[in-house]
Amino acid sequence: MIELRDVQVTAWTPDPDGRERVVRLLGPVSLTLGEHRVAVVGANGSGKSTLARLLNGLVLPSAGTVTVDGLDTATRGADVRRRVGFVFTDPDAQVVMPTPLEDVALSLRRLGLDDAEREARARDALGRFGLGALADVPVAALSAGQRQLLAIAAVLATEPDVLVADEPTTLLDLGWRAHVDRLLASLPQQVVLVTHDLDAAVRAERLLVVDDGLVAYDGEPAPGIARYRDLVARRHEELLP
């Protein structure tokens, strides 16, 4: 169970005149996320990625608390990250080893397994995601979709309870997008999916619409998406001369 209590995230930002001021990136937000599938949508810069990063302690709240199964992300970050895996938009930033096998094995190092078991579990994890035959090829030779699958496999190899995915399909073509969507939908873990893909968002059990750092909608996906479309249309009209 993920709980956010009166959470705010603020940051220093430079003014055009060179001075710095504090801006609010997110909040105040209070949420309890217990559903198996939660989708988060919002415009670029709305604060949805900040919200996602709060969930495994990548971003710490400036005020309020974020807890996962009762563990505070500010004081028990390492324990929280064992429970909450995180997948980024760009797999190239996430995959750090030269081959898929080595990258998944890197994730498993913190479990304290011996070499043989680490390799066996890494091969098993890759096999489950259809990457078994590519375990030893250079990561650079994989397609974007295969690299994203690898990033997901490397995170899930340690069997976290929750997976937070921040726009995992944004850089993928239609085929890979559908493949990754199906894969995320089939996982036994709780999944918090930040996405611009409204087809994927509508399949969630609960939808959060983030707008200007606040949760503008929280509830059933279908009405939430209609609300989000209204918001986008209004913002677009404001931008037009």
Binding site: N56, A78, R81, G85, F88, D92, V96, E102, L106, D136
Partner: protein, 212 residues
């Protein structure tokens, strides 16, 4: 004169940092022994003067690369920047100190880089990380975590192809804008991309709990 048709595009390939699975004696040798041999080779080549030893060492390393089944053309392609550097450095030494010194310096450089490539091709990054983590244990006393030191090495190996790819993208972007003659149009975006990549990689490592 007929222009040669360009062949199929080759992906950027870096011989350093890429493990090639295999079962030969070099693959089975412990990572520590291979690194120690590399260290000894480096010391001997640097301390010894004369052309015979570097040439013999190069022959041995080429034989080792062949026994590790490293693809000759791709390895040579990956070593091209090193060969160019060796030619430039060797050429300068030839001019300054004579042809023997020039040939010696160039041969030593190629030998050592190829030997390092053989080590990484026959050793899984995971095994290298284990070894470096073990070697770095004493650093715990000065506040450095061995696992982090080992990971830094792994990231360094991974950074080489990423750096090559970033530079190629920046060069293509500059060419598309007609700025291929401007070093600034290539170097600045490449540097910015690398810094951005470093930042995102750090964030991803933190998210994976690898440095906790």
């Amino acid at each position: 004169m007929r222009r040669r048709r360009p062949g199929p595009a080759r992906p950027l390939w870096n011989p350093l940092g890429l493990h090639r699975p295999g079962t030969g004696p070099l693959h089975r040798a412990p990572a520590g022994a291979k690194l120690a041999a590399l260290l000894v080779l480096g010391l001997v080549l640097v301390l010894h003067s004369g052309l015979v030893l570097p040439v013999v060492a190069l022959g041995v390393v080429v034989a080792a690369a062949a026994s590790a089944r490293m693809p000759p053309r791709r390895t040579a392609h990956g070593l091209l920047p090193v060969l160019v550097t060796a030619a430039l450095v060797g050429g300068y030494q030839w001019w300054a100190r004579g042809w023997q010194v020039g040939a010696e310096v160039a041969t030593e450089l190629v030998t050592l880089v190829l030997a390092a490539s053989v080590v990484t091709a026959t050793t899984r990054a995971d095994a290298l990380l284990d070894l470096v983590a073990r070697l770095a244990r004493p650093l715990r006393h000065v506040g450095l975590r061995p696992e982090v030191v080992a990971l830094s090495l792994g990231l360094m190996l991974r950074a080489v192809p990423v750096l090559l790819a970033s530079s190629a993208e920046a060069r293509d972007a500059a060419r598309a804008r007609g700025l291929e003659r401007s070093p600034r149009a290539v170097l600045v975006p490449a540097a910015v991309r690398m810094v951005g990549h470093g930042y995102r990689t750090g964030e991803a490592l933190a998210a994976r709990g690898i440095v906790d």
